[in-house]
Amino acid sequence: MMHFIDRRLNPKGKSLPNRQRFMRRAQSQIRKAVKEAVNGGKITDIGHNGRITIPSKGLHEPRFKYDYTKGKHDRVLPGNKEFSAGDQIKRPPKGGEGKGGKKASEDGDGEDSFQFSLSREEFLEVFFEDLELPDLVKTSLKEEVEFEKQRAGFVRVGSPSNLDLKRTMRHSLARRIAMRRPGSDEVDELRSEILALEAKGKKTKKLKELQEKLELLESRRRFVPYIDPLDVRYKSYTKIPKPNTRAVMFCLMDVSGSMSEGMKDLAKRFFMLLHLFLSTQYERVELVFIRHTHMAKEVDEETFFYSRETGGTIVSSALEEMQKVLDDRFPLGDWNIYAAQASDGDNFASDREKCLSIMQESILPACQYFSYIEVMDEQELEIFKDEQNMTDLWRIYSQLTPEFSNFAMRRVVKSNDIFPVFQDLFSKEHAKDT
């Protein structure tokens, strides 16, 4: 006798140890590929598109193999069309179609790189590796959960207000056709015919036939109802927790000459984290990039991170620009507004008052959260270590902290700092205060 064994409930993921071993083996390559994906990719892509390509170097499993590009050998192929014995054929180009085109990479050995997918968690783990990420997703802003009704198919029972007329009628029509229910025009026609005959006043045989037929039709109409309980369908809804509508995230950055590439990279990482974080909280997160020197401009992501600009540094110009964008496109009631500003702290001395007033009067009241990140290199950190010696912007913004709990500022020197700073800014306790 034979056994069928149901193994479907056995644990899956038997390959997990192997997968982990592979990941460990390919660690350095994966780390590099992820970094490249981060540096080259867009902020919005991070963590969504886990597909990465890594070079197969070091992952190659060598064997003793023939090199068939040399020497003499015979091959038998199917599908001869025009060749006859003794023909000379031009050697097809390598890798091209035709004779054994795929031979070279038959078992993947010919490939130089290969693609695979990282799960979102794996990707984040690698991405935040040198940032020592504990668990980003668990850190969440305290917020009220709202429910949203979502369509979930059709049901046979429900409240009349949820009746789906179209579907009900479709069922009814199908049933009526199938059961051959006489249509009203058919009955009307018969009736008028009878009336016409009756008007003539003669009780002919035909009249009687027609009357019998009419009776039959009508009884059939009674027998097969126009709408049967069978036909009725109601719309069904389920409640799903609703992410708190939508948010817009402003990225402000000083791009004047004093910002080095390293500083920009730090800023970029911070922006990315913030975006990732907001994405877990909100259904839709818009990004606005504003860069400034002595004048500010809204730009696309590419320009924001990669193009260079020279000029002085007037921070208020960026704030003004942000204010303008807010007024134009993001009405206060509809959007959660977040902003992150990165700068090396330089500002024209004359700009102080203006900055302060814009922040106090319009921006901070509108924002859910505004974080200021001051990026600097180690030397600068030495200089600006103590409270007496502060950068211009730091000095101005310090005045805001007591008044606005939705404003925070931190200094970042190394990429390792970013995550702790980020966590510090967005920890649960902090959110409670806001």
Partner: protein
Amino acid sequence: MGQARKVQKPLYDGAEWSFEKLDAVYDAIEEIANEDLGLNVYPNQIEVITSEQMLDAYSGIGMPLMYNHWSFGKSFVQDEFYYRKGMRGLAYEIVINSSPCISYVMEENTMTMQALVVAHAAFGHNHFFKNNHLFRQWTDAEAILDYMHFAREYINKCEERHGVEAVEELLDAAHALRDNAVNHYSRPVPLSKEMALQRLADRREHERADYRDIWSTLPPEAEGSADDKIKSHSQVANMVKFDLPEANLLYFFEKHSPVLEEWQREILRIVRNIAQYFYPQKQTKVMNEGCACFCHYFIMNRLYDKGLITEGSMLEFIDYHTRVVAQPEFDDPRWNGINPYALGFAMMQDIYRICHEPTDEDKEWFPDIAGCNKGIEVLKDAWENYRDESFILQFLSPKLIRDFRLFQIHDNSALPHLKVEAIHDGRGYRKVRSALAKSYTVSEMTLDIQVADVEFEGDRAITLRHMVHDDVPIDGKQAEQVMQRIAQLWGYDVGLYCEDAMSGKILATYDVTTS
């Protein structure tokens, strides 16, 4: 086929499968397999798994109890990637040459697919595994699952004791020599988990019992002079002592490497045994799939003739079947070599045809079997006694060569043009046939590499020799990497020289010097 159609009630209807239906279909298939085909199979064990478990099973080269290694993870992530992106489907089944014969079927399959898979794997492949002479000589179906279990446990234990990295490094090196780890001429000793454990225990016991502290106080020279046998420096003595030349490289390192520890030798042995286990499969791809396809085709048709499956299921089956046995032509974008399913199935069907409805040509080419009316007997004999190479050489008929429009190309890299050597015509049949058969020989799959010499007295260098046939050289880049791994196994200098088999000229050398 041929029999009068006794109409019975279909066993199932629709696509959904259930265990009751599977049971009924299995019994019906078993009846046909026993009565019409007379198959001789191991007891069957059919396991239903999910697609994710199928992906898992894939990565362990189809073995359910494979030990852990990153290379299996590599194939797993890749299979998974292609599968998730919809670029590649999954196999409908995996079957393991063991007793009981385990077939995995996927839960996503329709009922018709399950029937097909049972006929294909649980009867077709199973019969082949049990009866083909290569499998009977080289593999031990009773013991393989036990042995795999032992191997997995053993390697796990080694990882605990010696560290994952050390084991991984060793496995990397061993895997590089997997193709050169088969005893081509002597049959392997039957595997057994108990025996393997017993051998290890004996060895430990021997070491313990033989331990004499006093030996450790002896000066090192005394050891050499005490042993008369290794005094001789001549190569001849070495040849005799180490039984050179030796083509089973992994075996040689396991037995004679001066640097490996006991557990490392045991792991080499495991890799070698598994390679040996797969050796018959490599040589019988066409026949094995041909046998399974013939069986499922025959059985499904019989089921239909008996009225046990509906017309709809039959159509569904034919759809799958034709896709499996399709052979794209050489200039087709889908061309990826000769499809063993297509060639195997066509040859089996052709043999059956020759036995029952021979043409004059068949009578001339196959006087022994043409018109004998014992198609199934002839096929079963072939399944038992041939491998791909000899099977093609014996049974590929002119009709099939015409049907496939096979032609032979001679590729000499020294010449600018390829030459069409033979096509499907009277003068070409035999040439095409032997050329095709040759492409399935063992020497096409593994290179002729042997341990040629060992210098145990001096620098302990080892020399490997590759015999180059038809000027086809070794892939140099890969050879360099493999030699690195060999150096790791041997611990001292290693060298490989490639010698032309005809002229004896040395064409290339690959050396790794350890210092």
